[in-house]
């Protein structure tokens, strides 16, 4: 609203509206933390209730999950590189690293979908047991977030290519990167408390 323009510092923080958008997004991430916490808590309540269906041990394959983890963690790293390029005011570097990020993200989604199809073929569907309902919903929500993130960043890349680096496009890209890192953090919890815990229990 206001004309407070900050002329120094990172591009995305210039202007009150940009600062408010970034703060607002952090608060949104707070809400997302509550959302995922609820999903995790519900999963922990239901994880032992397999109702005679497949158990964690029978389903999870460490190799595939490790590949998914590596893909997503690397994508978070390349996303960080992209923002670094943005701070250096290098549009090409930003777009290139973002494309790498998206490809890694797509790889992750591909692996996850294959994993789910595999589970369904083994008779483990979302309707099988309380455990699997909670499992597919938690993982599905994360996967859906990643897919939305991919769509969103594609839109931003179009805008970056058209408009170049402005305070507004920089802010949008920065916010998308916060979102991407957040999904990575959620995945670390999924990897640890769903997959690893499920395999040792």
């Amino acid at each position: 609203m206001s004309a407070h323009t900050q002329s120094t510092g990172p591009l995305e923080y210039r202007g009150l509206q940009n600062q408010m958008n970034i703060l607002g997004f952090w608060i949104f991430l707070g809400a997302e933390i509550v959302l995922f916490s609820t999903l995790f808590a519900s999963y922990f309540v239901l994880e032992m209730n397999t109702a005679g269906g497949p158990t964690q041990e029978e389903l999870f394959k460490i190799k595939d999950v490790m590949i998914e983890t590596m893909l997503l963690l690397t994508s978070s790293f390349t996303c960080g590189l992209a923002i670094h390029q943005m701070r250096e005011n290098k549009l090409k570097g930003l777009i290139s690293w973002m494309i790498v990020t998206l490809l890694l993200g797509l790889g992750f989604i591909y692996m996850e979908v294959t994993e789910f199809i595999h589970y369904v073929h083994e008779g483990a569907t979302i309707q099988t047991s309380g455990f699997l309902s909670a499992f597919f919903t938690l993982l599905g929500t994360h996967g859906l977030h990643v897919s939305l993130g991919i769509g969103w960043i594609i839109l931003l890349l179009i805008q970056l290519a058209r408009r170049g680096l402005t305070p507004v496009t920089a802010r949008k890209t920065f916010i998308a990167s916060l979102y991407w890192h957040f999904l990575d953090v959620v995945w670390i919890f999924i990897f640890t408390f769903v997959y690893l815990k499920g395999m040792v229990m």
Binding site: A31, L35, L155
Partner: protein
């Protein structure tokens, strides 16, 4: 579900309503067309991003929903007025108490409070609008889509009938087939997204857009309570989002979150529901506390007593609100240890609440009280709410709760908390801020009728319910036999409900009368008030303040008046940057409404096709680089001159 079952076929009552709804819609459409108001509606309201107009739309929707929920209440009272009544059958009664609860909490209390927050908070902090005006419009339109979707359940497909708490396994597909509870899951989800966005919006607005000099401890009390409420919204609503998503999946896709078979856990629903539901009670009560604080300070003509302890109390209430949810189901067998913990946390809530009650009383002490309507509501609030609070402490004692759990005693208790707490506050707030919204005041004389009818009717309706509860009547009973000693109390209560309804009618008449006949010459500060919203014209111009005020103390406008700093000099006026109108929030309302409707009926293909509209809305929004417009110096000067006289 086949198409011929789409419309509910339920005897003369429903048929009458269907015809009435149809006629109302047709006549509204006809009237708007006849008066050639479509363009006006679209430009000034449907696409507006102005926080004051959005607030007014919230309030309008809230009043309409109050009517709907109130009619539900009257029907219930009619059914239980006499033993063995055959006015409503069990199914119909179940549907009515369910929609009454949901509508009154989520589609009446919430929009009225959020509406007043929308109008008042930016003005109180000296801002031009909220932090994200377009998101604010989206919040309203999503709330509206959810509310309308929920309301059509009554005539299309059938209403939810498992109570506003919708406990599993009752609310599952096995025991509640049909689409009624799908409406509950999906309509509340859509409205909930809007509410979450409101929470984020107001946190950022209050943190970042306060006028220069307004430190956190110089904020008006209503702004403080709105701020804390927004924080509770962000912390609690995502839990409900997940709970409703589980409910939707259980009902639509056959998952097993809450089923007893196949490893689900019905208790999970209870915990998730009340983890949101209890904070929700404070989401509706805290802004109300803020309104009373403003009204009492203004009309006692003193500054608010114990400002710092007021702030500490609301923060304390917000913190405790997250730690009490199990008190809603002591009887579910969590064991004495767990029950004791929650019993203690629940009783602790009485402490900060008591602090606030005493602060209001001390604010009035030795004040020169003006008995305006707004003040009358605040005065009536104190004793009525205290009855609700004290019976709350009775219910908080886990061992004793086994005696009155799920009885009418509980129903009486929460009506004694929510009606004085929320509804009286909304009335006080409406009478108080009406001039700021519309430029004329509500009639004080008709307002007295409204006040006395409503307060007497309220006590007549709900006081007997404490006693009928102690005599063993459980809640949600659609009928009872003679000779239980209930009929006298329930009959009296039913008469009280009519008085209550007459009070509401008096409010509606007051709005109509004042709209037609009230003086338009109220000035910017009709109550000689203390906070910044009164420093600008009534109704506030779309840019709010010609010059952003600079704040030096609490009750800044009071100080400004004392020090003679209310003038505006001509050379202080500059161009003002404002956000442009946007079509996408209304578009999203339609898109979400249509997708929600198809999901309710489990027509997944149609839902998927129409979901494309949501995606289109999101993409259009992402590519929207509208940067607003500037209000010219001449226009500001012209507007300011109208109410200030010549500028020097």
């Amino acid at each position: 579900m086949s198409l011929d079952k789409l419309l509910v076929d339920g005897g003369p009552l429903i048929l009458g309503s269907q015809i009435a709804i149809g006629l109302t819609i047709v006549s509204i459409l006809f009237l708007v067309t006849y008066l050639k108001k479509w363009k006006y509606l679209w430009k000034e309201w449907f696409t507006t991003v102005d926080h004051k107009k959005i607030g007014i739309m919230y309030i309008l929707a809230g009043v309409v929903m109050f009517f709907r929920g109130g009619v539900d209440g009257l029907l219930m009272k009619a059914q239980t007025a006499r033993p063995n009544m055959e006015f409503l059958d069990a199914q119909h009664y179940d549907e009515i108490f369910t929609t009454h609860g949901v509508i009154m909490i989520l589609f009446m209390a919430m929009p009225l409070l959020i509406g007043i927050m929308n109008v008042v908070v930016p003005l109180q902090i000296g801002a031009r609008d909220v932090a994200f005006p377009k998101l604010n419009a989206l919040s309203f339109w999503l709330f509206f889509a959810g509310a309308m979707l929920f309301n059509i359940s009554f005539v299309v497909g059938g209403s939810p009938d498992a109570g506003w708490t919708s406990y599993f396994p009752l609310a599952g597909k096995e025991f509640t087939p049909g689409v009624g509870n799908n409406y509950y899951a999906i309509a509340l989800q859509i409205a909930g997204i809007g509410t979450l966005a409101t929470g984020i919006n107001f946190i950022v607005t209050i943190l970042k857009m306060r006028a220069p000099g307004m430190g956190l401890m110089k904020m008006p009390m209503f702004t403080w309570t709105s701020f804390i409420t927004s924080i509770i919204i962000v912390a609690a609503f995502p839990i409900f989002t997940v709970a409703l998503a589980f409910m939707t999946l259980d009902r639509l896709l056959g998952t097993h979150f809450f089923t007893v078979a196949a490893g689900g856990d019905p208790m999970l629903w209870l915990n998730l529901f009340w983890l949101w539901g209890h904070p929700e009670v404070y989401i509706v009560i805290l802004p109300a506390f803020g309104m009373f604080s403003e009204v009492i300070a203004t009309f006692a003509r003193k500054n608010l007593y114990g400002y710092k302890s007021m702030v500490a109390s609301i923060v304390g209430i917000a913190f405790l609100s997250m730690l009490v949810w199990v008190h809603h189901f002591y009887t579910m067998g969590s064991g004495p240890a767990v029950n004791s913990v929650f019993s203690i946390t629940t009783m602790m809530i009485a402490i900060p609440t008591g602090v606030k009650i005493f602060n209001w009383l001390f604010t009035m002490r030795k004040g020169r009280i003006k008995f305006t309507n707004a003040m009358l509501w605040s005065l009536a609030f104190v004793p009525c709410f205290t009855i609700g609070g004290v019976t709350g402490v009775m219910l908080a004692m886990a061992a004793a709760d086994y005696q009155y759990h799920n009885t009418m005693f509980l129903v009486a208790h929460f009506h004694y908390v929510l009606i004085p707490g929320v509804v009286f506050a909304v009335f006080a707030g409406l009478y108080y801020w009406w001039p700021k919204m519309f430029g004329f005041a509500l009639n004080e004389k008709i307002g007295k009728w409204h006040f006395w009818l409503f307060v007497i009717g309220f006590n007549m309706t709900f006081m007997p319910m404490f006693f009928v509860g102690l005599k063993g009547m459980s809640r949600r009973m659609y009928t009872y036999s003679e000779g239980l000693g209930w009929e006298g109390l329930l009959g009296f209560s039913a008469v009280g409900a009519l008085v209550l309804a007459a009070g509401f009618a008096a409010l509606c008449y007051n709005i109509y009368w004042s709209f037609r006949y009230a003086s338009r010459d109220v000035g910017n500060d009709p109550w000689d008030a203390r906070t910044l919203e009164w420093a600008t014209a009534s109704p506030a111009p779309h840019y709010n303040f010609a010059k952003t005020p600079e704040v030096s103390s609490l009750d800044e406008y009071w100080v400004m008046k004392k020090e003679g700093r209310t003038n505006l000099k001509k050379e202080e006026i500059t161009e003002i940057h404002m956000p442009s109108n946007a079509w996408s929030p209304f578009f999203m309302c339609v898109a979400f409404g249509v997708v929600g409707f198809f999901l309710v009926f489990e027509w997944f293909t149609l839902a998927a096709i129409s979901a494309v509209a949501i995606v289109i809305g999101l993409i259009a929004n992402s590519f929207d680089y509208d940067e607003g417009y500037h209000v010219s110096v001449e226009e500001v000067e012209e507007t300011e001159r109208k109410w200030r006289g010549e500028l020097k």
